[in-house]
Amino acid sequence: MDTNKRATALSKAIGIETETLLELVAKELGHQDSLDRFISYGDIYTRAHPISPILHIVSGNTPAAAIQTLTRGLLIGAFNQIKLPSKGIQEVEDFVEKLPSELKSLIEITRSRQTSTDWLNSAKAVIVFGSDETVMEIESKLFPNQIFIPHNHKVSIAVIDSDKNQEAAKLAALDITKYDQQGCLSPHDVYVHPKEQPRSFAAKLADALSELNSEYPPMGRTMEENIRIDDLRRSYSFRSSNDTSVQLWESDSNTDWTVVYEDEAQFAASPLGRFVFVKPLPESLGDALNFNKEHLSTIALYPFSIQRAETLSLCGATRICPLGSAQDPSIFWHHDGLQTLAPLVNWTDAG
């Protein structure tokens, strides 16, 4: 299969137009035919070859990321080995079912730890979604000639500069509810400009989360996740009963959703599971993000403008997107600030 045929087949499975996928190849590799023939490159010719096999170690809580990494591997024509979590990911298996046999033959799936460990030794490229410690440990098992693409722990925030249309709370609730706030793209904290009354915004966000929750209640949360939420909730419940700078809104008799308003602008980490902090947007957002800036992924912005994105990019985020689309990155996005196809090919020059 050439690139065009692979893009056409993938297009049917993921619902992205063939032309868009070919444009991605062109942007990343210089020309949409780079993987199929020699193309002009300065005063020489060059063509790309997929690095293969690629081992994808993916996460169960963000199926979209798993499908996206597999799509990239298939688009360049590599052989893809995927380690799924022990419970599997139905969305990935459904995606594979939609592919023609030529692409299916480029995929091998396992849930077995042992199999994935064997694959680790033979993979030419390894893409890992994991905690910092896990990513470092996997990296330590690799040989120097293996390409390693880590997607380690990241956090995201939202920034609301103004809310004339009174829709920001609903959009933020979408970003928090989707995938139950798992993954790295959903905001932990929503920073609201003081003129928009952040505490009132927190109440509106609580209403929006409650409304979404009645339609899309969380599914399959583990007891550990519930404990983390319960623990932090009770702590903030104690604080809010003794400190007027803190206020808590929470779902009744369960851990479904939680909103904490705090005057304190310093970033607070959420236990995830629709647990979000609302804080006043400080003059220097960069100073409030008291974690290593390398861990900042997405800023979901409302209202979105490229001019405002320019100033926010100084905070170290690798992605600034419109509020409400935090969990739906474009196929063109630079995942964690990195090119997505270019690191997965080698080049042969001619001339």
Binding site: I57, V58, S59, G60, N61, T62, A65, K83, L84, P85, S86, R113, S116, T117, V128, F129, G130, S131, T134, V135, E137, I138, H151, H153, K154, V155, Q182, G183, C184, M223, E224, N226, I227, R228, I229, D230, D231, R233, R234, S235, S237, F238, S240, S241, N242, E250, S251, S253, N254, T255, D256, A269, S270, P271, L272
Partner: protein, 341 residues
Amino acid sequence: MNTYTQIESQNLSFIDNGKSGNFEELIIQAHLFQKENCQPLRNYCESICKEPQSWQDIPPLPTKAFKNSNEQITSFSEKQISSTFLTSGTTGDMRGSHHFCNLKLYEKSIRSAWTNLQLPNLPVICLTQSPIASPDSSLIHMFATLGGKFLINSSGHLDHSKLKLVIRKSHQPLILVGTALAFLHLFESGKDVPKLPENSWIIETGGYKGSGREINKKDFYTMINENLNVPINNIINEYSMTELSSQFYSIGMHDIHKGCHWVRTRVLKPGSHEEVPDQEIGLLSIYDLANLGSSISIMTNDLAKRKGNAFELLGRDEKSTPRGCSRAADEMLSKNKYGHE
């Protein structure tokens, strides 16, 4: 309202003899006294339940409340503080403080539980520092209350020669107590560990906090049995917290932790104040009449399975933090961690 001393006296009598009073009346009395004398506790409890009708209505206080130095959880004045135990904490983590105006109830609870639960009455040797080297440890104070001898010096090193000497010179069974981690260090020290005299006992506690170590109970108890020649049925797990004044014990591979008549537990559904149905898993909350100086109800972070009015402790993953996209990779690596397949 009765004074601290009057309530303390009633609680001491109840610990001595469960027929001298009524748990429900005493614990509500203690709770009302604490609310009257501790504003942070009052504010929190009244935000949840203003007038508890039964002990089950008393909101359990989250342990993080003990970490706020501006809002001390005490039912007596600051100048009356005579002892303070600190929670263990990792680097950068603020330690919680449990203050006492005296240790009468605390020590009575330790000794009475020992008798009530018919735990072995033998000499105690401890794989810990002494209370002088570690005055802020509630665990070490407990061992001292039981008359323990301490084998870890002020620099934190186990005195192997003293351990050998104590064991060899003992003409009767002993109780060797320590944290699970201390036992692991002992077994992995590479030094000769003498077998304990016949009919000796082990008390282990505290898990492997902050060590990144995990080992299941059966493997750990087998290790104790092989290294110290103590039968598994002579191994006791002690469960308590710095924020409490009473303890629970399980023996051998039995999963149920037993407490005494002055403590009760509830296993709560996360995110609510409701108890889970019998045999289901939830978060453990503990009601302790001996905790008169702070809060008689404490919310733990530990998972437990409700077993009637008792509980099976399941603990929790100390390393568990929100990680986002990490489950698959962590699963892949977990087989390499100590004690896993």
